[in-house]
Symmetry: C2
Subunit: 315 residues, 2 copies
């Protein structure tokens, strides 16, 4: 595929499978495993202090010479320090989100870094292209964690974004197997970004309790909440029930922000408090049940993608 795929060419990888840089789940171990398996491993810098990111970058670079990326939410308070680390460590690809692509794209590109921006609508896809990014990730409503206000799902979003872009496009949201990967490519994507499936991998830094809860998730077990503050898809637990009850009882924004508090995501996803923690995961968590090494996940998705492509051809 490398020959005529714009994303594998741009990133210098073997398979057009990007692992999402998720807070509390995507450290150097997961990124290394995915990159070694021929996909693109990504460090999720949004939950890391500047020194922690440096430590992960040091370990990742010692572990593999394959391409990798860092996911940088632009609303991160110490963003300058993270950007400097990406430059110092010669990170080949930076994925930016939650902010304007105008702010950092040029700075990063001047240092030879490939810049990819995450969007949830064709309007922002176009703005990202105009800001000069190298590729766009378009993420649908079914994705885990923070999410767009338009609620556009992947099957509606990708053809619409494809129509406005000439640069490469990566689809995200609801992708966790070879069939959904093939569907994303059918919709017009050049590659896929996969998050939830990698949360439940051996190398993910999610707590064991969170991994198990993700594997047990059924249809309807996640929901997009706090839409008027900052939309986020949560796995249903006791904390979720409190958020839902606060919304149903029309508590003020302030009261709901106080309920949300600080450190809830770390508490749940990293420290394993399944009662009081905030658990971010995608709808596709209902579609897999086994904890596996990341390399096996990459291999399985890739093989199913190839098999299903053969099936589709015979239709």
């Amino acid at each position: 595929m490398q020959g005529n795929n714009r994303i594998t060419q741009l990133f210098g990888i073997e398979k057009p499978i990007i692992q999402a840089g998720m807070i509390w789940c995507s450290g150097w171990k997961l990124a290394a495993a995915v990159s070694k398996a021929g996909g693109l491993g990504v460090i999720g810098a949004g939950s890391m202090y500047p020194d922690v990111l440096k430590e992960h970058l040091t370990k990742l670079k010692a572990s593999t010479s394959k391409p990798f990326a860092v996911n940088l939410p632009l609303l991160y308070p110490d963003i300058e320090k993270h950007v400097q680390s990406c430059i110092d460590f010669q990170v080949p690809i930076v994925i930016t989100s939650a902010g304007s692509p105008k702010t950092w794209t040029k700075t990063l590109q001047e240092q030879g870094i490939i810049v990819v921006h995450v969007v949830s609508s064709s309007v922002f896809a176009l703005k990202s292209q105009e800001a000069g990014v190298d590729a766009v990730i378009a993420e649908g409503f079914e994705a885990g964690g923070h999410n767009g206000r338009e609620e556009t799902t992947t099957i509606c979003l990708i053809p619409k974004v494809r129509d406005v872009l000439h640069i490469p496009l990566i689809a995200a949201g609801g992708i966790g197997c070879g069939r959904s990967m093939l569907a994303a490519m059918a919709l017009g994507a050049d590659a896929v970004q996969i998050g939830s499936r990698f949360v439940a991998s051996i190398e993910s830094s999610a707590s064991q309790a969170f991994k198990e809860k993700v594997l047990e998730a059924k249809e309807g077990d996640t929901k997009l909440m706090m839409k008027d503050i900052t939309p986020v898809r949560l796995l249903k637990n006791e904390f979720y029930q409190k958020v839902e009850s606060a919304e149903n009882n029309c508590l003020t924004k302030e009261a709901r922000l106080e309920l949300l508090g600080r450190g809830r995501a770390k508490l749940g996803m990293f420290e394993g408090d399944m009662i009081e923690g905030e658990l971010e995961i995608g709808q596709v968590s209902a579609n897999f049940q086994e904890l596996k090494p990341a390399a096996e996940i990459v291999e399985e998705i890739w093989n199913q993608f190839l098999e299903e492509k053969e099936r589709l051809i015979r239709l």
Copy 2:
């Protein structure tokens, strides 16, 4: 494709494209146009009095000898009369929804009628198969009108349903072009059901004002509302704003049911009141802008499906 496609074989049609039987939009004219174009035309009986359905069946049968279907919401108050009409008029295929597939499946099948049931989860897909239906339509969150409580989107729903079914599967929700049709087949569907795109066809019985508003819709212009009463995806207008404000202000269920009132869907979709009417449409309405004859829509989707399949093969 007819040779090895289970849906085209089961229904006796040329292309695996099913037009959704939508209230106020799908009368005999639309059904005839789609069936003549090689897809499956469907009369939406949910908004028809028993005599009106008979009239549409008479006209449809006079207009084409091709296969067609009737969509029958099982909560319809005069359901026995509609069922009898389907038997009397030798309707080849009945699509049931909003109720238990156990109630009418056998009765209809004993009269030689093929029965298809609509679901929004793998749990109900399995129950439908156990009830003996001939095929299942699985409809994602992005679909217009009434919708499942799980909010599962098409890209997550179809592979999950495919895994539990051995009978044919039709994907619905977010499909309005050849790319999304190909994606649905990649996910494991045997065929697609398309609603919104046909609302904006010449032959649709939607009011001209509603057709125009659908064609003008942008990303984020529809939203799933009234989730605690009966989830329904609405196009944003003044009536939608009232519903939203009632939800945001925590009005009681009773007060919101009163606001909803009766006849709102007819008022908007059929009679063209874009202010006070309830406008049901899918997210995919953001993805097309031209009013066209239904046959041209079928042809366009089918040709793009074939072209995109060729593109995918070369990946």
